[in-house]
C-alpha cells in the first residue's frame, strides 16, 4: 500500500468502493431491500441515497428474484448494477436468475451479450440467527462457470475488491460477513486503488504449516496461529480473497515451503471451495506434501440456534489448532 490511507470500518470500506465507482461511472447503481431510506439493513449503504438520489440508490420490495432478474436485464443492455441482498441466504430465491441468466448469458448468446453486475451481501454465520440465515453461499456459486466469487477479510481488500468487481465485465459475487462490519483497518484513498481477482495474500508469515482461509475465518485462523506460536509452531495464514478464480500459484508456492496445509472456512464439509483447494494442492503439489491436508469446516448440520451448539458447529480457533497440530504430527 502506498499513498495516503484512511482508517475506516469494514462496512465503510465497502461503501467507499461503491461510492467511488458510482462517482466514476453513472451507469453504476445499487438496488436492494432497505438500501435507501433505511440506510441499509447493516448500514453499508448509509448516506448513499442522499448522495446519489433515488434514481441510483433504489429501494426494492421483497422480490429477490425480481430485482435480480431486472438488474441482469439492465446489465445486458449497458448498465452496471450492484445488487444487495439483505443476506446471501435470500439469494437462494434468486438462484435461478444468477445461475441461468447471469452466468450463461455470454455463452448462450454466442458472445453477443454479457452481464457486468455485482451481487453483494453478508454471508455465512452471524450470531444465533438459526439455520435459514447462516448459509455459506460461496460454495454454491463458485461451482458455476461464468461467475466470479470474492470474499475479502480486510478493509483494504473490501474496498479494492469491490472496485475491481464493479469494473469487471462478468458477474461477480461479493461475500461480506456481518461479523466483520465493525472491523477497523487502513484503506488507500487513491480512487485508482484496486485489488486484482485471483491473487491471494499472506495474512501471516510462517514456515511450519499453511492455513488457507478467507473472509471471517482468516481472523479465526490468525488467532489460532498466535496460540500455536506459543507452542513453537510457526504458522503461515493465506487469505485467498478470491475463490473463483483461485490463486493456484500461491497455494503451490506456499505448500512447497511448509509442506503441510489446513483449509479453514465456513460451509459444510461435503464438496465446496475447501474441497476444491485440497484437490488443487494434492494435484499440483503432491510431492511437496508431508501430511494429508485437513479441512476445518462448519459441522455437517443445519445451523442450530442455541448459542453453545452454534459455537460447536461453527469452525473455531480450537478446531483449527487441533488440525494444525495433526498435520504437524504434534497431537497430544
Amino acid at each position: 500500500m502506498s499513498g495516503p490511507t484512511k482508517s475506516v470500518r469494514f462496512r465503510e470500506a465497502i461503501r467507499m468502493g461503491m461510492v467511488e465507482e458510482m462517482e466514476r461511472d453513472d451507469r453504476v447503481y445499487i438496488v436492494g431491500e432497505e438500501v435507501g431510506h433505511y440506510q441499509g439493513a447493516y448500514k453499508v449503504t448509509e448516506g448513499m441515497l442522499e448522495k446519489f438520489g433515488p434514481k441510483r440508490v433504489i429501494d426494492a420490495p421483497i422480490t429477490e428474484s425480481g430485482f435480480t432478474g431486472i438488474s441482469i436485464g439492465a446489465a445486458m443492455v449497458g448498465l452496471r448494477p450492484i445488487v444487495e441482498y439483505m443476506t446471501w441466504n435470500f439469494s437462494a430465491v434468486a438462484f435461478d436468475q444468477i445461475l441461468n441468466n447471469a452466468a450463461k448469458m455470454r455463452q448462450m448468446s454466442g458472445g453477443q451479450l454479457h452481464v457486468p453486475i455485482v451481487f453483494r451481501a453478508p454471508n455465512a454465520s452471524a450470531k444465533q440467527v438459526g439455520s435459514q440465515h447462516s448459509h455459506a453461499m460461496e460454495h454454491f456459486y463458485a461451482h458455476v462457470p461464468g461467475l466470479k466469487v470474492v470474499a475479502p477479510a480486510t478493509c483494504a481488500d473490501a474496498k479494492g475488491l469491490m472496485k475491481t468487481a464493479i469494473r469487471d465485465d462478468d458477474p461477480v459475487l461479493y461475500m461480506e460477513s456481518e461479523t466483520l462490519y465493525n472491523l477497523k483497518g487502513d484503506v488507500p484513498e487513491d480512487p485508482e486503488f484496486t485489488v486484482p481477482f485471483g491473487k491471494a495474500s499472506v495474512a501471516r508469515q510462517g514456515g511450519d504449516v499453511t492455513i488457507v482461509s478467507w473472509s471471517r475465518m482468516v481472523h479465526v485462523s490468525l488467532q489460532a496461529a498466535e496460540e500455536l506460536a506459543k507452542e513453537g509452531l510457526d504458522v503461515e495464514v493465506i487469505d485467498l480473497r478470491s475463490l473463483r478464480p483461485l490463486d493456484e500459484e500461491a497455494l503451490v508456492a506456499n505448500v512447497s515451503k511448509t509442506h503441510r496445509a489446513v483449509v479453514a472456512y465456513e460451509g459444510w464439509p461435503y464438496g465446496g471451495v475447501g474441497a476444491e483447494v485440497v484437490d488443487r494442492i494434492q494435484r499440483l503439489a503432491f510431492d511437496e506434501l508431508d501430511a494429508p491436508i485437513e479441512r476445518v469446516t462448519t459441522l455437517d448440520y443445519p445451523m442450530p440456534y442455541n448459542a453453545k451448539l452454534e459455537q460447536h458447529v461453527i469452525p473455531s480457533a480450537e478446531r483449527v489448532i487441533e488440525a494444525v497440530k495433526r498435520v504437524a504430527y504434534r497431537s497430544a
Binding site: 447503481y29 434514481k55 426494492a60 420490495p61 422480490t63 428474484s65 425480481g66 430485482f67 435480480t68 432478474g69 431486472i70 438488474s71 441482469i72 436485464g73 439492465a74 446489465a75 445486458m76 443492455v77 449497458g78 448498465l79 430465491v93 435461478d96 436468475q97 441461468n100 441468466n101 455470454r106 455463452q107 448462450m108 448468446s109 454466442g110 458472445g111 453477443q112 451479450l113 454479457h114 462457470p145 461464468g146 461467475l147 466470479k148 465485465d169 462478468d170 481477482f197 485471483g198 473463483r244 478464480p245 483461485l246
Partner: protein
C-alpha cells in the same frame, strides 16, 4: 406504401416463419437438429404484428418458442437455421440452439428456456431504458403456462411499481405443454390480475395480423409516452405439439382442424387473393421457398464451432478457474 403492399409484406413474414419451421421439423426428423424444437406454427401473426408496430430500437424477448420472433425481427433464415443445426454461422454460434436465439443487431434479446425466468429480464431492459431516458419499449412474450410462476408475478409487480416501459404479452395458446387451461388457471382471464398490480391490460382473440398491430399500437404508446406497463393476453393456438416429441394426443383432431380454419396466415392469404393479388402471392411464396431452401443448404454447408469458443464465451479475458 399502400395498405396492400404492407399486407403483402406481413404475409411474407408469416409465410417465411411457417415454411422455415416446417422445413426445420423435417430437418429434425432427419437428425440434423438435436434437443428440443418448439414450433410457433399457428401463432405467427402475433410476432409479426407486434414487430410491425414496434421500432427497430425496441427490445423484444421471448420463450424457447423463439424462431418466429427472431425471423420477424429480421434475423436471416440462414443464421436461424444454422443455429438449429448447431453451426458456427448460427446467431449464437451454435452454442444456444433452438431455445436460445439471440440477435443483438435486431434487438432480439433472447429466447429463454426457464419458464417465466425471462420476464424480470425484460423488465430490466425496460428499467435501463427508463434510467437512460432512451425512449425504447421492451416487449416480452410468454405462455399462459408461465402465468403462475413467481418470476411472472415479481416482474409485473415491480414493473408497475417502478413504471417501466414494458409490455407483457401472454400468448395464451391454451395448453401448457399437455395441460389445458382449465387445469392450470382458476381464473382463465390472465389480464384479471393486472388490476392487482395497478397496470393497464388488454385481452383479445388473435384473428389477423392487422388486429394484433392495432392492439400493440396502444400498448406501445402507453409505454413510450407514459412509461407505463401493459399486460396483454392474446388467445391463440399452436397447430403442432409442444415440441417435436409431443404428438398432441391431449386434444381432438376436430379441435385442431377448427383452429386451422381460422389460421391468421390463411386469413391474410384469403384477403389478399380476394383483393386480386393472387399472382403476387404466388411470387412471394416462391421467393420464401427459395430463401428457406437456401437456408437449409447454407446451414448444411456451414462449419461446426470448435472448442476454442467455449472459454471465450464463458468469461471475458482470463478464464476464472
Amino acid at each position: 406504401m399502400t395498405d396492400h403492399e404492407r399486407h403483402l409484406g406481413l404475409y411474407r413474414q408469416m409465410q417465411l416463419i411457417r415454411r422455415f419451421e416446417e422445413e426445420a421439423a423435417r430437418a429434425y426428423a432427419q437428425g440434423k437438429i438435436g434437443g428440443f424444437l418448439h414450433l410457433y406454427i399457428g401463432q405467427e401473426a402475433i410476432a409479426v404484428g407486434a414487430v410491425a408496430a414496434l421500432s427497430a430500437s425496441d427490445y423484444v424477448l421471448t420463450t424457447y418458442r423463439d424462431h418466429g420472433l427472431a425471423l420477424a425481427r429480421g434475423m436471416s433464415p440462414r443464421t436461424a437455421m444454422s443455429e438449429l443445426f448447431g453451426k458456427a454461422t448460427g446467431c449464437s454460434q451454435g452454442l444456444g440452439g433452438s431455445m436460445h436465439f439471440f440477435d443483438v443487431e435486431h434487438n432480439m434479446l433472447g429466447g429463454y428456456g426457464i419458464v417465466g425466468g425471462h420476464l424480470p429480464i425484460a423488465a430490466g431492459t425496460a428499467f435501463a431504458s427508463k434510467y437512460r431516458g432512451d425512449g425504447r419499449v421492451s416487449v416480452v412474450f410468454f405462455g399462459e403456462g408461465a402465468a403462475s410462476i413467481g418470476d411472472c408475478h415479481e416482474a409485473m409487480a415491480l414493473s408497475a411499481l417502478w413504471k417501466l416501459p414494458v409490455i407483457f404479452v401472454c400468448e395464451n395458446n391454451q395448453y401448457a405443454m399437455g395441460t389445458p387451461l382449465t387445469r392450470t388457471l382458476a381464473n382463465d382471464d390472465v389480464t384479471a390480475r393486472a388490476a392487482g398490480y395497478g397496470m393497464a391490460s388488454d385481452r383479445f382473440v388473435c384473428e389477423n395480423v392487422h388486429q394484433v398491430m392495432e392492439h400493440f399500437d396502444l400498448a406501445i404508446k402507453r409505454a413510450r409516452e407514459l412509461s407505463e406497463p401493459t399486460l396483454m393476453e392474446i388467445r391463440t393456438y399452436r397447430h403442432r405439439g409442444h415440441s417435436m416429441s409431443d404428438p398432441g394426443k391431449y386434444r381432438t383432431a376436430e379441435e385442431v382442424e377448427e383452429h386451422k380454419r381460422r389460421d391468421p396466415l390463411v386469413v391474410s392469404r384469403t384477403a389478399l387473393e380476394k383483393a386480386g393479388l393472387g399472382d403476387k402471392l404466388t411470387e412471394l411464396d416462391a421467393s420464401v421457398e427459395t430463401e428457406v431452401q437456401d437456408a437449409i443448404k447454407f446451414a448444411d454447408d456451414s462449419p461446426e464451432p470448435g472448442p476454442e469458443l467455449l472459454a471465450a464465451t464463458t468469461y471475458k479475458g482470463a478464464f476464472a478457474r
